[in-house]
C-alpha cells in the first residue's frame, strides 16, 4: 500500500489534523507521499520538518480554491506517486476536492470516518450514519484508489519527529476556466475552526438573549476555546450560522464540549456526541443533554457560568 496524504492549509499553516494521518501511516509502516496545493511558505515547511513529513509535493499557483484545477492536480499526483490510498481530514474543502478527484481517478470515496482499521493490507474504515445513531464498516470491493477522509480528533494526534523533508515543486493546474474565484470575505473568527477545536463552549436558548452570549465568550476565552451554538440561537440571528453545531451545522469532536443552556435535541447531539468529555449546564434536571454528558450541573447558567469562568482563571 502507498498513501498520498493531503496536507490541508488554512491561514498559512497546515491544519493539525493532517498530522494525525502522517502519524497513522508511520505507525502502520505505510510508505507515504504528501501533497500541498496552493499555499506554501517557510512556516509550512518547518511544520513538515517537525512532524515527520518525509516526501512532499507542492503544487504552486493560485492560492484561492478552484475545485476543478485542484482536483486535476491531486489526480495527477495520485498517478505520478502510484498511491492507492489517498488520505485527508474531513473538511469543507477536502470533501469537495476528494469527491471530485475520485471521478477523475476512478476511485472509491468515503468521508467523515471515525475509525481506520488495517488488517494486513485490508483497510476497513468505519463511519457514523444517521447523525451518529449507528455506524457501519466500509468495505472496499475492488482495487481502485481509495479516497478516505477521517473526521478530525479521532486518530491519535500527530507527533513531533524531526526529518528533512524532501520537497518537489509542481505547477498547479490552471487549465479549467469554467469556475473563476472572484473573492473571499474575511473570516469572522481568529479562533480554531469548530471542527478542529480542542475545546468548545456552546450556548443555546437558555441564554435568554443575544447579549448574554458574552457569558459563553468569557468562558471560552479563559479556556482558549472556540464558541459554538444551538440552532435555536443561530436561527434567531444571535450568532452566525457558521457557529451552529449539529445535524444541519458542524460536526465536532473536541476533547471537551461545554453545553450551556442547550436542551440536547437529537439534531444537536448529532453534531457533538463524538466529543470525548461533555459538560452540561442546565436548570432542568430532565434535559436530554444530561443523558449524553460526562458531567452535569443542574443550575442557573447565569450563576454557574461566571463562577466557572473565575475558577478557571484562578487555576489555569
Amino acid at each position: 500500500m502507498k498513501a498520498l496524504i493531503f496536507l490541508e492549509t488554512n491561514n498559512g499553516k497546515i491544519k493539525k489534523s493532517s498530522f494525525e494521518l502522517v502519524k497513522w501511516c508511520a505507525d502502520n509502516n505505510i510508505t507515504t507521499q504528501s501533497v500541498i496545493l496552493g499555499d506554501f511558505n517557510d512556516d509550512i515547511k518547518t511544520q513538515c520538518e517537525t512532524y515527520g513529513v518525509e516526501n512532499l509535493t507542492v503544487f504552486k499557483g493560485d492560492t484561492s480554491y478552484s475545485p476543478l484545477n485542484w482536483a486535476k492536480s491531486l489526480s495527477e499526483e495520485i498517478s505520478s506517486s502510484s498511491a492507492n490510498l489517498v488520505l485527508g481530514s474531513s473538511s469543507v474543502l477536502a470533501t469537495d476536492l476528494f469527491s471530485r478527484a475520485s471521478i477523475i481517478s476512478t476511485g472509491n470515496y468515503v468521508n467523515d470516518c471515525t475509525e481506520l482499521n488495517l488488517e494486513g493490507d485490508k483497510l476497513t474504515p468505519r463511519k457514523p450514519l444517521y447523525a451518529g445513531k449507528c455506524s457501519c464498516a466500509v468495505e472496499f470491493m475492488n482495487e481502485n484508489t481509495k479516497f478516505v477522509l477521517m473526521r478530525p480528533n479521532q486518530l491519535p494526534s500527530g507527533e513531533e519527529k524531526s526529518v528533512s523533508t524532501n520537497i518537489s515543486e509542481k505547477e498547479l493546474s490552471n487549465s479549467e476556466a469554467s469556475v473563476k474565484a472572484t473573492g473571499v470575505s474575511e473570516s469572522t473568527s481568529d479562533k480554531a475552526d469548530l471542527t478542529e477545536a480542542n475545546i468548545i463552549v456552546s450556548g443555546g436558548r437558555g441564554l435568554k438573549e443575544a447579549a448574554n452570549f458574552k457569558l459563553v465568550e468569557d468562558l471560552a476565552n479563559v479556556l482558549g476555546a472556540t464558541t459554538g451554538a444551538s440552532r435555536a440561537i443561530t436561527d434567531d440571528g444571535w450568532v452566525p450560522h457558521s457557529m451552529q453545531v449539529g445535524q444541519t451545522g458542524k460536526t465536532v469532536a473536541p476533547s471537551l464540549y461545554i453545553a450551556c443552556g442547550i436542551s440536547g435535541a437529537i439534531q444537536h447531539l448529532a453534531g457533538m456526541s463524538g466529543s470525548k468529555v461533555i459538560v452540561a449546564i442546565n436548570n432542568d434536571p430532565d434535559a436530554p443533554i444530561f443523558k449524553k454528558s460526562t458531567y452535569g450541573i443542574v443550575g442557573d447558567l447565569f450563576e454557574v457560568m461566571p463562577k466557572l469562568t473565575e475558577k478557571f482563571k484562578s487555576v489555569l
Binding site: 475545485p67 476543478l68 469543507v92 474543502l93 469537495d96 469527491s99 471530485r100 475520485s102 471521478i103 477523475i104 476511485g107 470515496y109 468515503v110 468521508n111 467523515d112 450514519l129 444517521y130 451518529g132 449507528c134 455506524s135 457501519c136 466500509v138 468495505e139 472496499f140 470491493m141 481502485n144 469554467s178 469556475v179 473563476k180 474565484a181 472572484t182 473573492g183 473571499v184 474575511e186 473570516s187 469572522t188 450560522h241 457558521s242 445535524q247 444541519t248 460536526t251 476533547s255 471537551l256 448529532a270 470525548k276 468529555v277 459538560v279 444530561f290 443523558k291 449524553k292 460526562t294 458531567y295 450541573i297 443542574v298 454557574v304 463562577k307 466557572l308 475558577k311 487555576v315 489555569l316
Partner: protein, 258 residues
C-alpha cells in the same frame, strides 16, 4: 434548457434507528421518510431560477424503490417542479454508481442547463453527489452555496467555507450547484399545488434502462452497529461553588482534558 433537482428520500431526523439482525443495514419498516432537508433548498432555488434563466422545465429526479420514493417526488412536484423522474431501484449502491445513474437519467431527459441538489444527505452524510455528479456529467460544480445569481449561462455564486468566511465564484454553465441553509426559505406545498402534483408526468427508469449495474459499486456498507452506551453521567451535587470546584477538579484530574 431544463433545470434538474436531485432529491433524496431520507429517514426523518426524529426516527429511531434499528439494525437488522444480520447487521447488513437498518430496519426500514417503521421509518418515517422525508425529503432530505438540504434538497428542499435546492428545489426552492430551482423554482426561483426557472424564470430568470428562461428554463423550459424543472425536473425533480430521485433514485430508490419507486413505491416509497414517489412520496418525496410528489412533494417536489407539489412545491412546483414540472415533471418527475424516478430511477426505480431497491439496490444499495455506492455514491459514484448513484451519480452515474442520475447523470444518465438527466442526459436521457435532455438539455440540462443547471443541476441542483443539497450539499449533503443527512442519512449517510457522504457530501459526494454534487461533485461526483458534476464529474460524471463533465460539468463544473460548486457546493455549500448560500447565494446564486444567474443570467444566461453565467452563475455568480457565494459559498460558505470554514471560519464563517464566504468565497465567491463565477461559473460558466451548465453546472451542478449544492445548496445549503441560508440559500432561501423553502416554500410549503400549497393545497392546489398538492392537487396539481397528482397529475404531473412522472417517467420511470430502471437501472438497466440507464446502463447502470449495482455491481459497478466499489464499496458497500456492512457491519452496522448501534453506538456503545455512554458511562452514566456524573451529576455534581452541592451549591454552585461546590459544583464549580468539583467540575474543575474532575476536568483536570479525572478526565485530564485541561
Amino acid at each position: 434548457m431544463n433545470i434538474f433537482v436531485c432529491v433524496k428520500q431520507v429517514p426523518d431526523t426524529e426516527t429511531k434507528i434499528q439494525i437488522k439482525d444480520d447487521k447488513s443495514g437498518i430496519k426500514t419498516d417503521s421509518i418515517k421518510w422525508v425529503v432530505n432537508p438540504y434538497d428542499e433548498f435546492a428545489i426552492e432555488e430551482a423554482l426561483k431560477l426557472k424564470t430568470s434563466l428562461g428554463a423550459e422545465k424543472v425536473y425533480a429526479v430521485t433514485l430508490g424503490p419507486q413505491k416509497r420514493v414517489q412520496d418525496s417526488l410528489r412533494i417536489a412536484l407539489a412545491m412546483g417542479a414540472d415533471e418527475g423522474v424516478v430511477i426505480d431501484s431497491e439496490e444499495a449502491m455506492d455514491t459514484r454508481t448513484t451519480a452515474k445513474a442520475l447523470a444518465e437519467a438527466i442526459n436521457k431527459t435532455g438539455n440540462p442547463g443547471l443541476v441542483l441538489t443539497g450539499k449533503t444527505a443527512i442519512d449517510d452524510n457522504s457530501a459526494a453527489m454534487v461533485q461526483q455528479l458534476a464529474g460524471t456529467l463533465s460539468f463544473p460544480h460548486c457546493t455549500n452555496v448560500t447565494k446564486i445569481e444567474a443570467a444566461d449561462s453565467t452563475f455568480k455564486v457565494e459559498r460558505e467555507i470554514e471560519g464563517g468566511a464566504k468565497e465567491s465564484f463565477e461559473i460558466t454553465g451548465p453546472c451542478v450547484l449544492g445548496a445549503t441553509k441560508g440559500l432561501n426559505n423553502p416554500r410549503y406545498p400549497s393545497l392546489p399545488g398538492i392537487m396539481k402534483a397528482k397529475k404531473k408526468p412522472v417517467t420511470v427508469h430502471t437501472l438497466a434502462d440507464l446502463g447502470v449495474s449495482p455491481s459497478d459499486s466499489g464499496m458497500r456498507f456492512t457491519d452496522y452497529k448501534l453506538p456503545a452506551e455512554k458511562p452514566a453521567t456524573k451529576m455534581l451535587e452541592g451549591d454552585v461553588d461546590a459544583q464549580v470546584d468539583q467540575l474543575v477538579d474532575l476536568l483536570k484530574n479525572e478526565a485530564k482534558v485541561l
